[in-house]
Amino acid sequence: MNKRIMTGNEAIARGAWEAGCHVAAAYPGTPSTEILENVALYPEIVSEWSTNEKVAVEVAAGASIAGARALAAMKHVGLNVAADPLFTMGYIGANGGLVIVTADDPGLFSSQNEQDNRWYAPHTKVPMLEPSDSQECKDFAGEAFALSERFDTPVLLRVTTRVCHSKGIVSLGTRSEVPVRPYVRDTAKNVMVPANAKKKHFVVEERLAALKRFSDETPLNRIEWGDRGIGIITSGISYQHAREAFGGGASYLKIGFSHPLPEGKIRAFAALVGKVLVVEENEPYIETTVRALGIPCVGRALLPAVDELSPAILRKAFLDGNTTATAEGPGVGVQVPPRPPVLCPGCTHRGIFYAMSRQKGITATTDIGCYTLGFLPPLEIGDTCICMGAGISAAVGFAKAQKIAGRPGKVFGVLGDSTFFHSGITGLVDSVFNRVPVALVIVDNRITAMTGHQENPGTGRTLMGEETVSLDIETLCRACGVKAGNIATVDPYDLAACEEAVKAASSSEEPFVIISRRPCALLKDVLRERAGLHCTVDMDLCVKCGACLKLACPALSMREGKVVIDANLCNGCGLCLQVCPRKAIRKEGGKDGE
């Protein structure tokens, strides 16, 4: 059999392809990003990076109504953005199979909260599947399309970081060519005006009852018998951790179809085992139902609400050290310095942030991206970070409160190019419409960088590699009502220009936009172009004042009383030589003109 080792994300893409998926859409977000990157490798699927998650779900919804099998993928917080179409698609249902992937992040490896999106399934009344490894990611993606068409509903495919980013061996199949279904105009089904929606709500309730029966029948929810003294009810990656910790010392009700939960199977399983344990990460989603059925169980009482689970946590919680495998390794006994993520050497966000840090009285509402890291010392640009788009909208509210309180100081919003397209435009319009004189800094590095360099509406290229229009941010800002004289475009490697723009923005009594534009230093073309460029310190001129260290560049350090620039890390951005009061730093290794 053809086998390959794949991440959960690769396997979801493969499963969608094998299931004959026609259309796929997503906005990048860890840990979901690689799903669409891998879908894009299959030319049979028309795929796109959407402007945001709501757009992605609406694109998939339209494709499904038109008869195509469609998938939308996003990280957990992305589903908040896309919740609006999801709720109503729960009423409309599906023509071609409609699958929505939500990739949750227990442990908050790269997210602003630890929400458990399993609750979206009962809230939207749509079925949910939870794969526990890569093989199931592939298989369940196919199941999800079939169930969507069988029950006329969108299907949630819920995964977590450890499923998305773990690899396992997957048996491959071939693609089933599924023709796009016919589209017949049906306004009672697809036009959700109140009169139609009310009728559809009855249909949704009937569908839910049918799905409950299915949940009890499907082998996606299966019992694995071992020792019957302990019965474990679990789903997703928690199943794998439980199998690891308990082995044959327990029996398992392994839930793959987790909304609606298989109440009959849960009752039957509980009746045949001694103690019932519910093993799940974060929220007591399964446990709430088990308890509602009147079944005594242990779960949340012994398991943490915060962070991901592991076999070690389960052993500690339930097995009370009755095992040899929890022996601790050798102790450290040495203070280990922290290693937080940082802005890279040559990062194009550093210059504008440095300029802002020199301006007194700035409050910065920042947003989601690499540039969020600007909040760290010593630059400290970033007072708030809430969600995509809040970088500008929260600035509007903050400025209003400042004015009421009579406090001085300018409020700057910070967001990236992709974030601006995602949900920053509406906030900018709001600031103009409501005459709130905030300053918006768009750190335009010509790519969606944080998630690993995805195309966006400003890059001129699509996910499928086609050339397309590159949206002009200045023109967009002007169209939003910002006056041309209140838009400054600067090169973040030019500190004087950055400082001048920050000053102008600070004193403006109208909404002001600074576009800080330079392609991300890690882009392949940039790396090639700047190869060999680096700065060096003239030790005779350096007075070790430490001005350059305030840039927080990982290439710069004070070692044994000397300022050192690591030529391998440095890309010659030249910010340090601009801040050096003694002109002790110079650039080397450049081609003509550098």
Binding site: I5, D133, K167, Q240, A325, A327, P337, R339, L343, P554
Partner: protein, 192 residues
Amino acid sequence: MASETKSILLVGVGGQGTILASRILSEGLMTAGFDVKMSEIHGMAQRGGSVSTHVRYGEKVYSPVISPGEADVLVAFEKVEALRWLSYLAPGGRLVVNDTEIYSLPVLLGQAKYPERVEVALAERVREFRLVDAAGIAGRLGNSKAQNVVLLGALVRAMKLESIPWKDVMRGIVPPKLYALNEKAFDAGLDA
């Protein structure tokens, strides 16, 4: 059951090539007929943060995650990362450490101190400890970036996995122009 599953933990700093090394490792283990699971955490860690890759193999592997005290081998691509992850090493486990120091930003800014004589602290705590000058070896072979494959070679020796056709596995993964460099780096790691 659990005792038959072997656990390898690779740790380092974003950008050091732990992911490629673990990819070759897991492909090779699959070729040899093992069930394999590999788990890596990236995202914000890409920006110079601490990174880890868990590789587990055996007849049947359930959890992709290695728990503290469970790693049969800990391969640290950077010295302080060896200290950070040392509690994951099983009693009697083997430790392979790249003789490289990468200062984190708090160290560069003088807010934290990079510990001195890390290798002495490690040698005191772990009997099966090897310090490998992987970056130096790879540099002498032509490209210090091949340090990850040097460490892979050292790991293969530590786990006694030499019978797997690693060079064939690598050829399925790295571009042809890097075959020679990576093969030399791997051999150097075996004998380091």
